[in-house]
């Protein structure tokens, strides 16, 4: 019947191709043949009758005319499929899943351990991240509240980058710019001694105005929020203080209004005008007492409300709804020019910025910080570690599940022969992984809850699981997002093994000619590479963090603070003309204690930001612009106590001091300071003079430079002056194996000399190292979690290698029979994995380099990143990988070939 098919030629052209392709795209497969046949036949016919052009046009019209419902309808199968969701099958899936887990206890344990560790670690870190990111978001309108920050330039150089600024700035801005709805000002934050009935309670507090409670959301439990901070000598105390000072419960708060407490040395008692809730832990401001700003105006002077010259306050402004902060910020340079006229008013060029409240805690690199700050980079690093850990754990799951798929190939074959579709098989394996993952998730949550107290203690933060379920960053949205992440993670980690398994060809599997596909190996290998890249980055990071922390602990600071005990000065004693003699005789008295070597008094201590003096000029040098020094009031024994060498001139003499501070005209500078004044060396500076605020000072001596703050800060130019204050500190160098006894002796003398004050002491080295507390916590926490990540990764490679090696038992047997050595076989088996790890090291090293560079850039004095640090990290990675692999490979290589070759 069939005529021979003629090849197309010039007389016999074919229809265009692409409409046919289009047809096959939408048309049901079983219809394509007849439709194409009809189309081509009509084309040939029309070609003969109407010519090529017409035939083509009609052909096209016909093809597009096919887009009709009949063409879409797929052929109905003769063998209908039962639904995949039959309860009997689902029960069977779960039964098989549990049996499989039970049968391979080792593998299941490995798998679940990895997942649980990963999920637990991830949840814990996320709590921390959520806590840190949620700072200050409890305020209504937190997104409209900005802090006014202030950069100060002299001769084009940034000399101060502070949150602190001039009192007149915010009121004037509020007048000049309609965008500002309201503002509040804080001043003199610090620790105050609240006194009631001769008992002293130390509490952090600040002076602020009546708008504070309307800018911020700190609820009052008693008192009127509009007026509580209006009158001078008003104070609002927190619930904790109400309990502590008055032993008052919530029902008595109303009665506390009108009661009085004494604050520091102020003779006027403060009247309680409000009881406020304790500030939430997520507030960057942490105060237990707020005192009215008008009080300061009385005691310090009116300038605290309107000065353009002394910068001693912090301003927070609330913008009107819908205001664009960036465009308001653009108007601030003109504001500065208008009111500060370059550097004519305050001595430096002032620049103002609006810092969003939400950045005050994590992303604030300002000096004179009023609040609780943390390093945003550290928080993001933790988030990245959390993501890595979770990814590594899921990758482990994928790797182990696919590697084991060979064992289950027969099961897949039999199921397929019995009529299972790949959809059903995917469903089966997916449900297996969902079971395993869900189990791990539940265990992870339980473990995270169990370890909560341990974590909170380690990092000293009030974390809770609620931070993830709505109480933290993002509110309930975070909970939704996290469940989204976990659900999709569980599904995705289940998908790959499920597809890999269900795609096995039944015939091949059952015939026994089935081999693991190269494609699957490629995926597994890249996953191992990813895991080890992450591990490499974390190992390098941990290593460098520790190195830097060690460096900071051990770096010579330029002064000696071993066994220096510091006691707080008698703040509650009033200053009078005899105070200096009193302080000196107290020191002499202290030195009578045998274990006390020397005692000294100073107005401030190392480790804190020092106050600054601006516009200092050298006499006789005709300098046009002044320079800026930090300043420190110290007595004659201070340098001896801290073993700071005087390199030129002399130390202070007792006669340099004077109860009348105007008569003090001697100063000692450090080397940085004399360099800034333009002296070539210390000897040249001694005996010279400088001027500040119209008063001449003689440089009697020069001391060597030292790190007055942590190694995050630069060494500053410092001027020391022989001032005494009662609100300062006594540094006491002791030399004893029994400090408790010495402290008791000191306390006795302190109480005799300064009755009515709290005896409060600490060791200087501990206090100084507290500057690294956040870094140390970060180091501890990140190293622990990095360790977990590496552990999970090695669990993975352990499982994977044990699996591949068990697949090669026969090969190993044959090799041994033919004379291979044990070491040769171990090398052979380890080589494949070590190659991957080497590759991962190559990728991980530059990423790690970038990361640690970022972290180190926060430190003014830091270790250099050197190649051998990477080499060590690489060696560690390789060693861990080799150890996990060789555990299996050595066993396999030692196995007698008789055993492995006997079967079959």
């Amino acid at each position: 019947m069939k005529e021979p098919i003629q090849p197309p030629n010039k007389q016999n052209p074919l229809p265009p191709r692409w409409p046919g392709r289009f047809l096959r795209l939408f048309c049901a497969p079983h219809l394509v043949e007849e439709l194409e046949g009809d189309l081509q036949e009509l084309f040939a016919q029309r070609l003969r009758m109407h010519g090529e052009q017409a035939a083509r046009t009609r052909y096209l019209r016909d093809v597009f005319g096919m887009v009709r419902p009949f063409a879409f309808k797929r052929e109905v199968s003769k063998y209908p499929q039962p639904s995949a969701f039959q309860s009997a099958m689902i029960r069977n899936y779960f039964k098989i899943a549990l049996r499989n887990m039970w049968k391979n206890k080792g593998f299941s344990a490995l798998n679940i351990t990895g997942l649980v560790t990963g999920i637990t670690a991830c949840l814990m870190i996320l709590q921390y991240v959520s806590f840190e990111l949620s700072f200050d978001r409890f305020h209504h309108d937190f997104d409209r509240i900005y802090r006014i920050t202030n950069d100060r330039f002299q001769q084009g150089k940034l000399i101060q980058h502070g949150t602190i600024t001039y009192p007149a700035v915010a009121p004037t801005m509020a007048k000049d710019f309609n965008e500002i709805e309201t503002y509040t000002t804080l001043a003199n934050p610090g620790t105050f001694s609240l006194q009631k009935d001769r008992r002293i309670f130390e509490e952090k507090g600040a002076y602020t105005d009546e708008r504070f409670l309307s800018v911020f959301t700190f609820p009052l439990l008693a008192g009127d929020r509009a007026t509580a901070l209006k009158a001078p000598h008003s104070i609002i105390i927190s619930e904790t203080n109400a309990k502590r000072i008055f032993n008052a419960g919530p029902d008595q708060y109303a009665n506390l209004i009108g009661k009085t407490v004494k604050v520091d040395v102020d003779t006027e008692p403060y009247q309680i005008t409000g009881i406020m809730k304790d500030f939430p832990a997520t507030s960057h401001l942490q105060f237990g007492a707020l005192m009215s700003f008008e009080t300061l105006a009385l005691t310090w002077g009116e300038w605290i409300k309107n000065s353009w010259e002394s910068s001693d306050v912090w301003h927070y402004a609330k913008l009107r709804p819908g205001t664009d902060a960036a465009s308001l910020e653009k108007k601030l340079p003109a504001f500065s020019q208008r009111h500060f006229r370059g550097d004519k008013v305050s001595g430096s060029v002032e620049q103002f910025f609006l810092q969003p409240l939400s950045k005050a805690h994590l992303f604030s690199d300002y000096e004179y910080e009023i609040g609780n700050v943390n390093n945003g980079k550290a928080v993001w690093t933790m988030l990245i570690i959390a993501a890595f850990i979770l990814l590594i754990a899921w990758i482990n799951y994928i790797n182990l599940a696919t590697a084991r798929s060979l064992e289950r190939a027969r099961e897949v074959g039999v199921r397929k022969v019995a009529g299972a579709t790949s959809g059903q098989l995917i469903g089966q394996f997916l449900s297996e992984s969902v079971v395993l993952n869900a189990l791990a998730l539940v265990l992870g949550i339980v473990l995270a809850l169990i370890f909560q107290p341990v974590l909170n203690k380690a990092i000293d933060k009030p974390l809770s699981f609620a931070l993830l379920t709505g109480a933290g960053f993002g509110g309930p949205k975070l909970a939704l997002m996290l469940s989204g992440v976990f659900v999709s993670g569980i599904l995705l980690s289940g998908f790959y093994p499920a597809f890999a398994l269900s795609s096995f060809k039944a015939v091949q599997v059952l015939k026994g000619s089935f081999k693991r596909s190269a494609k699957g190996a490629w995926v597994r290998q890249s996953l191992v590479i990813f895991q080890y890249t992450a591990s490499m980055v974390l190992i390098v990071g941990t290593f460098i963090v520790f190195k830097q922390l060690k460096f900071m602990r051990e770096e010579k600071l330029g002064f000696n603070m071993d066994q220096v005990l510091v006691i707080r000065g008698p703040q509650l004693t009033l200053w009078d003309s005899t105070s200096i003699d009193r302080i000196n005789s107290f020191k002499t008295e202290l030195e009578r204690i045998p274990s006390v070597q020397i005692a000294s008094a100073s107005g401030s201590l190392f480790g804190n930001r020092l106050s600054r003096s601006f516009n200092i000029r050298r006499v006789g040098a005709n300098q046009e612009k002044g320079v800026t020094f930090s300043r420190m009031p110290v007595d004659a024994d201070f340098f001896e106590t801290y073993k700071i060498p005087v390199v030129a001139g002399r130390n202070f003499l007792p006669t340099d001091s004077n109860p009348d501070s105007r008569k003090v005209t001697t100063a000692i500078l450090n080397e940085s300071a004399i360099k800034l004044l333009g002296f070539a060396n210390a000897g040249e500076a001694a005996g010279q003079k400088f001027v500040v605020n119209g008063k001449e000072w003689e440089i009697v001596g020069v001391v060597s430079d030292f790190h007055q703050q942590s190694l995050k800060s630069n060494i500053e130019p410092i001027v020391f002056a022989p001032f005494y204050t009662l609100a300062g500190f006594f540094s006491i160098k002791i030399n004893t194996a029994d400090p408790a006894n010495t402290i008791a002796g000191i306390r006795e003398k302190y109480n005799a000399f300064f009755p009515g004050n709290n005896f409060d002491y600490f060791f200087m080295d501990q206090r100084f190292n507290e500057q690294y507390k956040d870094d140390q916590t970060f180091g501890k926490v990140s190293s622990f979690f990095s360790f977990l990540a590496v552990l999970i990764a090695s669990l993975g490679i352990f499982g994977l290698s044990s699996y591949t090696i068990s697949q090669r038992t026969k090969e190993i047997g044959v090799r041994k029979v033919l004379g291979a050595t044990t070491s040769g076989i171990v090398a052979l088996l380890s080589k494949d994995f070590l190659k991957l790890v080497l590759f991962a090291i190559g990728i991980g090293a530059p990423i790690a380099w970038y990361g640690v560079n970022q972290w180190l850039s926060d430190f003014a004095y830091r270790i250099d990143i050197e190649w051998w640090m990477f080499a060590i990290a690489a060696a560690v990675s390789l060693l861990i990988a080799f150890a996990s692999v060789s555990f299996q490979s050595v066993r396999a290589a030692l196995m007698s070939p008789v055993k492995s070759l006997r079967s079959e």
């Binding site: 069939k2 005529e3 439709l35 046949g37 009509l42 040939a44 009609r58 009949f70 063409a71």
Partner: protein, 106 residues
């Protein structure tokens, strides 16, 4: 159960199948209709009608008869079923009745 109502185009297609008597397939039917009615017809429309008629049980089909002109592809031959023949007869009868009912001009 699909109704046995026939659309105008369906009727034409059914008639063409009857005319071609055993040699009726998509292209031939299209060609036949074009010849008879003197207007161009879309192949897709013809196939859609054929599918509907087959679903209604008025036509039956089988595959076969590839030719070179079709690039060696099979044709689907349509034949009238008894129901199809009856349907055409019914229509014709009804039309005749209606024609007869037209009053003759005096």
């Amino acid at each position: 159960m699909k109704g046995t109502y026939l659309g105008e185009f369906e009727e034409v297609v059914l008639l063409a199948v009857a005319i071609l008597a055993g040699d009726a397939y998509g292209a031939a039917i299209t060609h036949e209709i074009e010849q008879q009615m003197g207007r161009s017809v879309n192949l897709g429309a013809v196939h859609a009608a054929l599918h509907r008629l087959e679903e209604k049980g008025l036509l039956s089909s089988r595959l076969g008869g590839a030719t070179a002109e079709r690039g060696g592809r099979s044709k689907r031959f349509f034949t009238m079923t008894m129901a199809g023949t009856n349907a055409l007869d019914n229509i014709r009868e009804m039309r005749n009745r209606m024609w007869n009912a037209i009053p003759k001009p005096a």
